[in-house]
Amino acid sequence: MVMTAPLPTAAAVRLLLRDVVDPEIPTVSIVDLGLVHDVRVGADGIAVELLPTFVACPALEVIRSAVIDALTALGSPVEVSFTFAVPWTTDRLTNAGHAGLRNAGIAPPADPVDVRCPFCDSATVAMDSMFGPALCRSLFYCRACRQPFEAFKPI
């Protein structure tokens, strides 16, 4: 007689996904980034659908293997896929996601005139370049604390 473990619930899967972080922004989970589009649990395993932030995001494969690693403990086969079914936008970031970005020294997405320094909260900042070290970020400079910083691009 074969004993089968009870199927995990989708809620249990989502809870574990909170431990998977963006490889470039380790203070923000993929749940708070708004990457998780769908979680389905069935007899043949767990299917997780994620939304890429940018089409060319080079972190996707790293995130895929991190999700598989995080869910292995549940004992079901895991399949991770990426979809454009709805476009990922910066509106999908949660409040915890915004706080996590600030903790990483990155200003949360906002209209460029509303961006505040993630270090001293000053509004006296200027955009140096629309394009930053990653596709999802711009470069700013804070005139108050004289720190260059990155800001998430609103998209």
């Binding site: 089409v55 060319a56 979809t83 454009f84 079914a85 476009p87 629309m130 394009f131 596709l135």
Partner: protein, 268 residues
Amino acid sequence: MTEFASFESIAMDFEGAGHERALAILLLSMADDEFVIGFSDSEWTGIGPILEEDVAISSLAQDELGHAQALYGLLAETIADGRDADGWAYDRPPEGYLHARLLDHPRGDWAATIARRYLYDTADSARLEAIAASSHAPLRELVAKIRREERYHLMHVQTWIERLADAGGESRARLLAALKAMGPDAGTVLAPLPGETALVRHGVSREPFAVMEARWRDEVGATFGRLGLPELPPTASPDRPRTDHSDAFRSLHAEFTMVRRSEVGATW
């Protein structure tokens, strides 16, 4: 050459083209456009005129390569002949590529790169608008995503073309020289595709390319008029085949297929 024969059967034999074949040609031409400009502009990485611009052009190039990869992926699903996105990107001879002749021009100096980007991005934007409500759901979804990214490209290149045009002196002279060289090929991005009537009939595109081109020429004409730049000429030799590419592209092709050719079938 069996793969090329199979490609030819898709892209060259348009007799009685059904809408799936027309869709494949649309996807392939768009993917090739994005791939070629992305690879070509990536040559600036490390040698951009200033650090911020080096980062910016590298980001733009990376975006375009990502769009190409996604479009080749959709094509692979449509054709389903066993080739994946990389197979489509790398395993064709130069004459198997369907990108616009505008992108056969070498990246040249910074003014030429900006001129080419401006002409391409504005034309691509007209094309994306025409397929934004496409009946082909995977394309519609991808285009919705791509347009959000291209908004940044357009803002950036618009700023640059104004800067070069308004600066006078060498900047403006170089921009004018680049526009003179590329102007006659600018319209090729929106050149009609075989089977496009089937695309419109099936709602893959809301309009034929001639309508996109007219809309694009109005927009570019308004910007050029404001900046005192000469009007774009009509497309030169409109009947020249899409697959007739320049020596500059042949060199680029030799370079971007080099790793792939050096060890056939190798994986990372």
